[in-house]
């Protein structure tokens, strides 16, 4: 079970990572899942496809993203800290990797439209972006509460030609946007691909999205090797659904590197969750004693999700991955520290990982360790919110 070779390869044929994963969707969607799985496997094994995917990420997406040595912070913490700069990717986060892959696949499947869910709007903007590039139609489902909180991102998607549909059911946030996207997908599977935004949902999504994000880890491992670090002692990433974490972990799964995922304390599926079934997957979920899904509460919209991707549940259960949680107040501080010390304003999601490193240097992270932080996104989307919070504190 702890043979590193067994981690982060393909799931079993029904999409299981150990006890997690699988495919829990209405019968009407099963054919679409099969079709997608077949199309993905076929495309992913076709060099022409993967070449195009890599080319688009290079020419359009801004890859490879650099590794930045965080020199001043390293000195302060007594570790050697590096950042993988997904904040420099087009649209400002790792989300572009996945949507470039999925929109190319959409075209290859002969579909002319994508739908997507979004929380804060990062995945929605990324999807609208990749769709615009290919001339695909795009509809994005977004909780009504989020459309109000993130009105500018709604406008951004509209500028990119997408239609944004406010979701008025349930808590009117990300979780409900996923439900609604699934409902809509049922009605239009013929010509529409559901471009899911993280390593969650029914098979093949968790696997496919991880594969499309693994470019982060593959690049990072190579870049660190060039710096003489092979492998680093630890890789740290924030975890909402878990796509940026899965992507970076994938480059180090079969090494001695400790893989550390940081959840929001108010959305901690590993820390506070239990096995369950939601959004097409079996995974760890925050739920009450009768299996009703609980709402997550986090300062960062991208981690405001009561579940976690099934492969992370498996990594957690098997011990290959370690998962910790960070509360809202530490997050604001971490954002400030990284900005002040290194000139990089991280996304609030990313700031969770930063906060954990600040907290654990010299404790969970032995002094002198080499640590790779996956800097999943930039904080521009968050500065207005952070400003309000800091004002309220004063």
């Amino acid at each position: 079970m702890s043979d590193p070779q067994t981690f982060m390869s393909a799931p079993d044929e029904r999409g299981h990572f150990g006890n997690f994963g699988g495919r829990f969707v209405p019968e009407a969607l099963m054919p679409a899942c099969f079709e997608l799985e077949a199309a993905f496997i076929e495309a992913w094994n076709d060099v022409a496809f993967t070449d195009e995917y890599h080319q688009v990420l290079r020419e359009f997406g801004g890859r490879p993203t650099p590794i930045t040595p965080l020199t001043r912070l390293s000195e302060q913490l007594g570790i050697r800290l590096f950042a993988k700069r997904e904040d420099l990717a087009h649209t400002g986060s790792h989300k572009i990797n996945n949507v470039v892959g999925q929109t190319l696949l959409t075209k290859r499947m002969g579909k002319k439209r994508v739908i997507a869910e979004t929380g804060a709007g990062q995945h929605g903007v990324a999807t609208a972006t990749a769709a615009a590039r290919l001339g695909l139609e795009c509809t994005v489902y977004m909780g009504e509460v989020d459309t109000e909180r993130q009105a500018l991102n709604v406008f951004r998607m509209e500028l990119l030609g997408a239609t944004v549909v406010p979701v008025t059911s349930g808590s009117r946030t990300l979780k409900d946007a996923v439900n609604e996207a699934m409902r809509e997908w049922v009605t239009c599977v013929e010509d529409t691909h559901y471009c899911l935004g993280s390593v969650m949902g029914p098979h093949p999504f968790p696997w496919m999205v991880r594969e499309m994000q693994s470019i982060i880890g593959v690049e990072a491992a190579e870049q660190l090797r060039a710096l003489g670090i092979d492998p680093p002692d630890m890789v740290v990433a924030c975890v909402g659904g878990g796509s940026n974490a899965a992507g970076v972990f994938a480059g180090f799964a079969n090494s001695s590197t400790r893989l550390v995922g940081i959840e929001a304390a108010g959305g901690s599926a590993v820390g506070n969750g239990s096995p369950g079934v939601l959004h097409g997957m079996k995974s760890l979920l925050m739920q009450d004693e009768f299996g009703q899904i609980q709402e997550a509460h986090s300062i960062s919209a991208g981690l405001d999700y009561p579940g976690i991707g099934p492969e992370h549940a498996y990594l957690a259960e098997s011990g290959r991955g370690e998962y910790f949680a960070i509360g809202d107040s530490d997050v604001i501080n971490a954002l400030q520290v990284l900005s002040l010390t290194e000139g990089i304003i991280p996304a609030l999601e990313t700031a969770h990982a930063v906060a954990w490193i600040l907290q654990e240097a010299g404790r969970e992270i032995p002094l002198g360790s080499t640590v790779l932080l996956n800097l999943s996104g930039r904080g521009d989307k968050d500065v207005a919110q952070v400003r309000e919070i800091l004002r309220a504190q004063r």
């Binding site: 029904r14 699988g22 495919r23 829990f24 969707v25 209405p26 019968e27 009407a28 969607l29 099963m30 054919p31 679409a32 059911s169 349930g170 979780k175 409900d176 439900n179 699934m182 409902r183 049922v186 009605t187 239009c188 599977v189 239990s274 096995p275 369950g276 079934v277 939601l278 959004h279 097409g280 079996k282 979920l285 739920q287 004693e289 009768f290 299996g291 009703q292 899904i293």
Partner: protein, 255 residues
């Protein structure tokens, strides 16, 4: 053969089309009286929706009802306790999402269903590939495991579902979640497909909202399931009388 299927096959053999109204458990304090009214008006079986926080397969009407039921404190335990007070002659069939049973425990869930007089279960987000544990547990408690077949289901898969489903086979009239559309959809085509593989009773559901649609659907199948249109009446404040009138009108249409 589990008892539900025996019952429904016998029903069909009388030439009667089955009418299966759907209720959301706990949506109002008097919801069990609605169930009784439906039976009184000629329902042949009752689908009991166990509310779930994230009803992925349901449209706005049932979502809203489930939300109200949860807000009112409905749990699997409370609704089972209420069902135990119900004296009705027709089969009860649970409809909910897999997480409810998975979290409660499969063995414990099916035991409780049986103890509450529920003889079947529809779990729309549990495809047969993932259902073996559930099927094992439900077999031990005479709970029939009812699968849906969708218009998109390819023939080979249809055969598999037709052979696995128990009690009846749920033919989805359209590619949509509950409560949408107004025509009678692809139900007939789906039923035709199922019948190539099995003679199990086959009911059409999803989007049947008028007596006329029900008549059309019943004419090409063994019965109909009526959900959102009925739940809407209850959300509008309708009482047992309204339920009885509504169900009666469907009864007359399909007889």
């Amino acid at each position: 053969m589990k008892s539900l299927e025996t019952y429904l096959r016998a029903l069909r053999s009388t030439g009667r089309k089955a009418l299966v109204p759907y209720f959301v458990a706990g949506v109002t304090p008097d919801w069990t009286q609605h169930v009784e009214a439906a039976v009184h008006a000629g329902a042949d079986a009752i689908e009991i929706g166990i509310p779930f926080s994230d009803p992925m397969m349901d449209g706005v009407v049932i979502q809203e009802a489930a939300y109200q039921a949860l807000e009112a404190g409905t749990t699997f335990d409370t609704l089972c306790a209420e069902l135990a007070t119900l004296s009705t002659s027709v089969p009860l069939i649970a409809m909910t999402y897999y997480n409810i049973f998975h979290h409660y425990g499969l063995e414990r869930s099916t035991g409780q269903l049986q103890a509450s007089g529920i003889s079947g279960a529809i779990v729309p987000d549990l495809p047969f590939e993932e259902a073996s544990d559930w099927m094992k547990a439900s077999s031990e408690h005479d709970v029939s495991n009812i699968f849906l077949v969708a218009p998109s289901t390819p023939p080979d898969r249809m055969g598999k579902l037709a052979s696995l489903t128990e009690g009846f086979c749920y033919a989805s009239a359209r590619m949509a979640v509950t409560g949408r559309s107004s025509d009678h959809g692809d139900g007939g085509r789906v039923v035709e497909g199922i019948r190539k593989f099995s003679d199990i009773p086959t009911y059409i559901g999803i989007g049947i909202s008028t007596p006329e649609q029900a008549r059309d659907a019943a004419s090409v199948s063994d019965g109909v399931i009526v959900g959102s249109a009925l739940v809407q009446i209850i959300l509008n404040g309708g009482g047992a009388n309204d339920v009885e009138n509504f169900v009666s009108s469907f009864r007359r249409a399909i007889d």
